[in-house]
Amino acid sequence: MTAQRVVVVGAGLGGLRSAEGLRAKGFEGEIIVIGNEPWAPYNRPPLSKEALTSEIQHEKLAFRIRGNASDVVWRLGESVESADLDSRTVTLSDGTSLSYDGLVAATGVSARRLPISGPPALASGGRHVIRNLDDAIALRAALVPGAHIVVLGAGFIGCEVAATARLLGCTVHCVAIDPHPMVRPLGYELAIELQHRHEAQGVVFHLGTGVTAFEGMGQVTGVLLSDGTHLRADFVLEALGSHCNVGWLEDQRLDLTDGVLTDNALRPMRDGTAVDGVVVVGDIARFPNPRFDEGAFRVEHWNVPTDTGRRASAVLSAYLAGESYDELAQTQWSMLPSFWSDQYDIRMQSYGMTNLADPDRIHLLEGDLHGECVIGYHRGEDLVAVVGLGMLKVVNSYRDQVGSTSFLASQTTA
């Protein structure tokens, strides 16, 4: 028998954890990881935070690779164009094909660009995004004291960069359609409080307004807002969310409406049945999670690639070994999304899914909203998320209570 082969598409955290997980589960065949960045897997969260205040180096951000995965073949700087899940092959951009016995889809997301005319959507034209190391290196070079930066979008990444840019002495304006920064994930009370803290640090917000045009020829010089305001800009950061890198999985009859829809074993769904031999991990996986007994969700949090990578590699290695596969795939698996953010000296830590909360059931649980605090997010009787500003030990103490009451009850009786 020739050795089995697993192809992992995407050399980010999810791809790394899947490869390590396959080895940890005893898979002895070949593992090939294909990644379209030139870099071995590295940590992205610092790219909008501390990495921007010092020299950015891959070696400082690179993940340690577990010893058991030292024989994994890394094909970096190569891109997968398409996959054929019936003949079990992937085709690379140079036209060559690779067959596989198992496939891991871990291609993550890309930064969304504003679809308006103006200078080309390139960092060299003053239009930055932040997703990759190269993006961060370009942004870092632009963030000089006195520079005028306009941040488009007031989500976590936009707000983190706004905070970092203020610390570096830039003039920072932040534009968003939303009424308050981070209001969609955090709710009104906390969003308004954080807005005040950013304003106290000198960030100027333009909220409830969009961008109608970028000014400048080859290079951005300003931004025109839908309320008629003109803002001077030496450069802009487009921090408007993401789109999933799933183009290579098109025409395979998968549900790609938002990432890749999977079953609880992280196998992609095709016409109502799960595709064996394929698993989806990380930012692109839209999976059902019984901890919150809701539909399937995609979560772009740092702990998701590790947790889904573990589950996916267990399922895939059982499939390849032909051992206890059905049993394992049928066993319900659950996970708890967790997120942190650093803005100025504020450490935010969250557990759960704030977006599931009833808008009128978001309450202060502990502390002082204007200082350190823990906020609870409820859906009916269920605590679906907690968010702490500081108070890490306290917010951590709520962690095990997050989830639907029926799920938590089933855990304690189990």
Binding site: N43, P45, P46, R64, W302, N303, S338, L392, N396, R399
Partner: protein, 65 residues
């Protein structure tokens, strides 16, 4: 057999995620600062300490044999 747990305290930002993965080895003190309870844990704890190293957002934890 035991192994060595090394936390780079210059990197550690007290995220406390390691505590959930390996509570016998890592703890947050009352001020929320990381305390390593066992620097040479028994091999039976290896897999939970590896998990702790995986979930540390700043990759401050390493394992040495």
């Amino acid at each position: 057999m035991t192994f060595k747990v090394i936390v780079d305290m210059n990197l550690c930002q007290d995220h406390g995620q390691c505590v959930f993965a390996a509570p016998e080895v890592f703890e947050l003190d009352d001020a929320g600062k990381l305390v390593v309870l066992l620097t040479e844990p028994d091999d039976s704890m290896r897999s939970s300490v590896e998990d702790a190293a995986d979930v540390c957002p700043v990759q401050a934890i390493s394992i040495q044999d």
